[in-house]
């Protein structure tokens, strides 16, 4: 892994800012994202998490050159995304949050058009993907269900085996069977060294697929870390069992201990950092048992979002 990290990142975002003009004649400004920096390397699956309106889609659309940054830079495969040469996009695949497809076209014609605009063919891979997702190429897009249109969006993004996949809520509307196929497709991408940026509201999906997580909150990157690092940073929930009832106030002031709740002989609390001060204090109070629960990604996410200013 060390040697991988030394090569240029696939995605390199430095102090990226984006404000939107709004109001009469665009005189007022609204925040998109502010001072966002992160990198993604070959083989990374980066999960972008954040509440609605936090700036995830702004980051994604800026990375694809659809939005013009108002500050900072974003580079993909070393190319400035705001530059005139779009050739780097031939190596990317993109599923927008609300995939708008040409409704008057048949699925096969639409995929032909996109393959032609990319300057490639990829028909063998495309057929394989259609088969995996249960997508028929004869149907007219306007007559497809939301889930089937989402399959079309997935096939067009994956069909040329891109080196970078940018996916904004990619499994929205998909049934569990197709979601399982999607997971396998992401695993396949990671295995061949492709990079994936995955924005999703489904925590379990990010937890399952991502190697790193970036939490976006109020337009800023609140946290970027790999899954292990994320869990070690986040407060852990610990239940302490005592021989006799102990008041919650007994642990007030102990280093790193928060939110102590007493229930008969059990004290529950959250711990940030080392657990040693808590355990020392608990032993003096007659500790007989300890139970520590690993935080789910959702709990980690909520702790980051709730704890941020």
């Amino acid at each position: 892994m060390g040697s991988v990290r030394r090569v240029s990142p696939v995605v390199e975002v430095e102090h990226l800012s984006k404000t939107y003009a709004s109001g009469f004649l665009g005189r007022s400004r609204s925040r998109g994202v502010d001072d966002v920096s992160f990198t993604a390397h070959r083989g990374d699956v980066v999960g972008l998490l954040g509440p609605n309106g936090s700036g995830k889609t702004t980051i994604i659309r800026t990375l694809l050159g659809l939005l013009r940054p108002t500050g900072g830079t974003a580079r993909v495969f070393g190319a400035d995304v705001a530059g005139a040469d779009p050739s780097w996009r031939a190596r990317t695949g993109y599923v927008p949050g609300e995939p708008g497809l040409y409704g008057t076209m048949r699925v096969g014609d639409y995929l032909d058009l996109l393959a032609g605009l990319r300057g490639g063919d990829g028909s063998r891979r495309r057929s394989e993907l259609c088969e995996r997702l249960g997508l028929r190429e004869e149907g007219r897009i306007s007559q497809l269900s939301k889930g089937t249109r989402q399959k079309v969006a997935l096939v067009q993004a994956f069909m040329h085996d891109p080196d970078l996949l940018v996916l904004d809520e990619p499994t929205s509307g998909l049934d569990p069977i197709v979601q399982r196929e999607f997971d396998a497709m992401i695993d396949g991408c990671r295995a061949r060294g492709a990079t994936v940026l995955l924005s999703s509201h489904v925590m379990a999906e990010v937890e399952r697929l991502a190697t790193r997580v970036a939490v976006v909150h109020r337009g800023r990157l609140a946290l970027v870390d790999d899954m292990e690092g994320l869990r070690s940073r986040a407060p852990r929930r610990i239940d302490l069992e005592f021989a006799a009832p102990v008041p919650a106030s007994a642990l007030v002031g102990v280093e790193g201990v928060r939110d102590v709740v007493a229930s008969r002989t059990v004290l529950s609390c959250r711990v940030v950092g080392s657990e040693a001060p808590l355990l020392r204090a608990a032993l003096e109070l007659g500790l007989v048992g300890v139970q520590s629960r690993e935080q789910s990604l959702e709990e980690v996410f909520l702790s980051v979002v709730d704890g941020s200013p």
Partner: protein, 266 residues
């Protein structure tokens, strides 16, 4: 090369509408020439009816000469009906050039492909110009064939000239629609601006014989550039053609400038 796939797609999407416009223009010419054939023998009486109309009305609709071949063509086809058809085609296509995909939410995927925004616009603009050229060609052919059957003495090249000026008129309003769409990404705004401008330009052109202030504005009026030279009688007007082309080029530059710099609407 690949962006031209987008031009082909635009043409394919609107092929029925385009064919309908072509058929409509050909039918219009055929009907008007058939009417002319039926009253040609009693031209003097018809002229009398026309002259009996209020003077203001005759001036607005350029009905000073309703009997001669070119006078009839000008009155019935080139004074209002055909210019409005070409303006309609230009407005409808032009407002879509830059704004259609954004308005329909289909721009994100297409513009995330390795396609330059300039090439994307150029391909879609080409499709619009091809449609205007095709309808113009159908008009010219319909006029040539129809007037030959009626033994008109108007040279064939004059019909080409008239069609050229009408196609330029359509291109002017198409370019205006493209520029507004390029700046805003909104097809409705582009169409509203184009149709509004066309109405203003046409009304000013129509009332110019009656109002000196409107007459003073004619040199800057695209409708005058298309119709004022009376192409059926005098052929292509180079000065007016250059003005039209310059305006199309300026609006085209504006379209590119607006579209290349701004954010794409989701």
């Amino acid at each position: 090369m690949t962006p031209w796939l987008l031009a082909a797609k635009s043409l394919r999407d609107r092929r029925r509408t385009t064919l309908a416009w072509m058929a409509g223009v050909a039918a219009l010419v055929a009907v008007q020439l058939w009417v002319y054939r039926s009253f040609r023998a009693s031209a003097e009486e018809v002229s009398g009816v026309a002259q009996a109309m209020p003077e203001a009305l005759r001036k607005i609709f350029r009905m000073e000469d309703y009997v001669s071949e070119t006078g009839y063509l000008n009155t019935e086809l080139f004074s209002a009906t055909l210019p409005l058809i070409f303006i309609s085609i230009g407005s409808a296509w032009g407002s879509r050039i830059a704004a259609e995909d954004e308005d329909e939410g289909t721009a994100d995927i297409v513009l995330s492909l390795p396609v330059r925004r300039g090439a994307y616009l150029a391909a879609r603009a080409l499709a619009s110009l091809l449609v205007l050229a095709a309808v113009g060609a159908v008009l010219a052919v319909a006029l040539v064939v129809g007037t030959r059957l009626l033994d008109f003495s108007v040279p064939v090249s004059r019909y080409g000239a008239a069609a050229w000026h009408l196609a330029l008129l359509g291109a002017t309003f198409a370019a205006l629609g493209a520029a507004v769409g390029g700046a805003t990404g909104r097809k409705g705004a582009a169409l509203a601006a184009t149709v509004g401008s066309a109405i203003v330009a046409f009304v000013l052109y129509s009332i110019a014989p009656l109002a000196s202030w409107a007459d003073a504005l004619l040199p800057w009026n695209p409708v005058q550039w298309a119709l004022g030279s009376d192409a059926v009688n005098h052929g292509i007007d180079a000065g007016y053609s250059v003005r039209s082309l310059a305006l199309v080029a300026a609006l085209g530059w504006g379209t590119f400038a607006g579209f290349l710099r701004r954010d794409i609407r989701a």
